[in-house]
């Protein structure tokens, strides 16, 4: 059982956490290559179990003999059907080995860990998503949750930035989002290729395209460390308050349960108090951004 600190919501994940460090084996049901570096893995949990996660939480994924790595959950609870989806970038030993796996193989899963988005509090408000690069992987979980409860939210705005068109993730879904009348979807790339007809420029260039109601908007951002200060300047400049801006921070969680120390931001364990934080909670932490 994990009790989130946000509003004492009890999340039932007891079915897959028999022992703290013992992974549950999940079968790879399908693999979708997305870019040169990223693949989307659909994983089936043992029958009768479910992850019971919140958008924004992560799992520890392991390949026995290689090791374990923290990966954010890309699927939304509203669409989880005894499984989960992980967008994995091939960047270290574990993720490289996972990229070499085929359908039918098993990976170990521990979790879900950490504090996700308190999206129940966002109902009735406008929601602005600003993922950069791989930052879409954790935000997609919440974006699809919001889409599946679309009537509960006000405007839904998505600003997505990638370095170039070939690095865009979830391309088919991006097309669907672009076609929906009830989403304001804007995408940009830092550097275009010949086929690209859309916006060119860093993600902050998108913010000038629309006006928002700063009193009723929740902003959610996730991306590489360098992106945060520029996106924060835009969001704060639009008048959104510190407590209405949420960030998902990357750290190298080794245990996921608040012991090993690798994810610490000053005294805060990102694996327990995060990875999702309202900006108001981390603005005074020297090591956060």
């Amino acid at each position: 059982m994990i009790i989130t600190q946000e509003n004492n919501v009890t999340v039932d994940n007891v079915t897959i956490e028999e022992e703290l460090y013992l992974p549950t084996m999940a079968r790879i049901a399908s693999i979708i290559p997305m870019t040169a570096l990223e693949k989307l893995f659909y994983l089936d949990l043992p029958s009768g179990t479910s992850l019971g996660h919140r958008p924004g939480q992560f799992v520890q994924v392991s390949l026995l003999g290689v090791g374990e790595a923290p990966i954010s959950i890309s699927s939304s609870p509203s669409r989880s059907n005894g499984g989960l989806e992980l967008c994995v970038r091939r960047v270290g030993d574990v993720t490289s080995a996972i990229h070499n796996l085929e359908v039918g193989k098993y990976v170990g899963i521990r979790g879900p860990f950490g504090r996700g988005f308190p999206y129940e509090k966002f109902r009735g408000k406008d929601v602005l998503f600003a993922p950069g690069g791989l930052g879409l992987a954790p935000l997609r979980s919440l974006i699809n949750q919001v889409i599946d409860e679309r009537a509960s939210f006000g405007r839904v705005i998505i600003f997505y930035g990638a370095r170039n068109p070939s690095e865009l993730l979830f391309k088919e879904e991006l097309d669907q989002w672009a076609q929906r009348d009830d989403l304001e979807f804007h995408v940009t790339v830092d550097r275009a290729d010949e086929a690209w007809k859309g916006n060119v420029g860093v993600i902050t260039t998108l913010f000038r395209k629309i006006s928002i109601n700063p009193r009723n908007t929740i902003a959610i951002t996730c991306g590489p460390p360098v992106m945060y200060r520029f996106v924060l300047m835009e969001l704060l400049g639009k008048g959104i308050s510190n407590g209405n801006i949420y960030l998902s921070l990357e750290r190298h969680m080794k245990c996921g349960v608040g012991k090993c120390g690798h994810c610490q931001i000053n005294h805060v364990y990102a694996c327990q108090s995060g990875p999702v934080f309202p900006y108001s909670e981390i603005m005074a932490l020297e090591e956060a951004l």
Partner: protein, 347 residues
């Protein structure tokens, strides 16, 4: 509970009686220093030791331990690891007892760590009162760890010809069934009082301020120029964290046999002083400079751990000061920060 007396000539017999039933750990002499070792020959136990290279933490949080074993020919199966046998730790100084009390909080707060807790539950701690400072590096008196009234199963006080045995728990009482002990007489109690009274004057305060001021001092020292000075000197060797009784950070990794079939997931001690500690897979290091890593270490010892666990992260044992090759010590760092604050940043 009860205070009893164990004559020194009966100590070896006591330990010999325990050996068939328990793994017994305690300080032994190794060349010029001392270390906690498994005791097989009771005469090797040295309860009058000054300090040990590593704290007894290693019996509860081993340098390396298996989290589970696996066999790649049946990849769905993971096996739990068997724990060590019941253990008695002899001769634990009260500074190290204080460190163990912190570890108890760390590994039982929030998620309960199964490995630590199983090991802790079958560990019996026999601590000993320190009657003289280990050396010039100990600053236990400043940190309030010069004695202890809890955290042990039995506490021993050296009365000269005998030990006073203060059993504090049922586990401790039961252990004393293996010992030839007598009830403490009025003379024994008098002797105990004079021994305890005599010790306090032998220890001195090393911090130039009261320890209750440490966390507030550190909270206004985040931008002190001292961190850069320490960063310039620090070799990032991690000796300080390796010998610390309250450092509990660890790494998790898989190790596989040469036949590439059987293996285990292990955790081993790790250090925030090492380059890769806060580095993510993509290469970004969230604590890249040694200055920031030293700051993180001292902030943890005096402030972060206190705020999370309501227990200081420094016991005053002095091990990190003894082992630092470039003379970075908690006493000097804390006192320098105090002086900087008193002079408004001008040192």
């Amino acid at each position: 509970m009860s205070l009893t007396i164990l004559r020194k000539q009966n100590l070896n017999e006591f330990i010999s009686a325990l050996l068939p039933h328990y793994r017994v750990g305690g300080p032994v002499k190794l060349n010029s220093s001392y270390a906690f070792r498994d005791i097989r020959d009771p005469s090797k136990l040295r309860l009058d030791y000054p300090t040990t290279i590593l704290p007894p933490k290693k019996y509860l949080l081993p340098v390396k331990e298996s989290l589970f074993r696996f066999n790649l020919s049946h990849p769905q199966v993971v096996q739990e690891v068997e724990m060590d046998s019941p253990t008695v730790l002899f001769g634990v100084h009260t500074c190290d007892l204080n460190g163990i009390q912190l570890l108890d909080r760390v590994f039982t707060r929030g998620h309960i760590d199964p490995n630590y807790v199983k090991r802790r539950e079958q560990t019996i701690i026999v601590s000993i009162e320190c009657l003289r400072p280990c050396d010039e590096h100990s600053f236990c008196k400043s940190m309030g760890t010069l004695t202890a009234d809890e955290g042990f199963d039995i506490h021993m006080i050296d009365l000269g010809e005998a030990y006073a045995m203060d059993a504090n728990t049922e586990k401790g009482e039961n252990l004393l069934k293996y010992a030839k002990i007598n009830p403490a007489s009025t003379e024994d109690i008098d002797r105990l009082n004079s021994v305890i009274n005599a010790k306090w004057g032998l220890f001195s305060y090393h911090l130039e301020f009261d320890v209750s001021e440490l966390a507030p001092l550190l909270s206004v020292s985040m931008k002190s120029p001292l961190w850069e000075e320490l960063g310039d000197r620090c070799l990032a060797c991690a000796a300080c964290t390796n010998v610390c009784p309250t450092c509990f950070c660890f790494n998790v990794k898989d190790e596989i046999e040469l036949e590439l079939i059987r293996g285990e997931r292990v955790r081993n001690w790790d250090s925030c002083q090492l380059d890769e500690f806060a580095t993510v897979a993509g290469g970004h290091n969230f604590r890249e400079s040694r200055a920031l890593r030293q700051r993180h270490r001292f902030m943890r010892k005096g402030r972060y751990i206190l705020s999370t666990y309501n227990h200081l992260g420094c016991t005053g044992c002095g091990r990190c000061a003894r082992d630092c090759l470039v003379d970075i010590t908690p006493v000097k760092v804390f006192n320098e920060l105090y002086r900087q604050r008193e002079t408004g940043g001008r040192s």
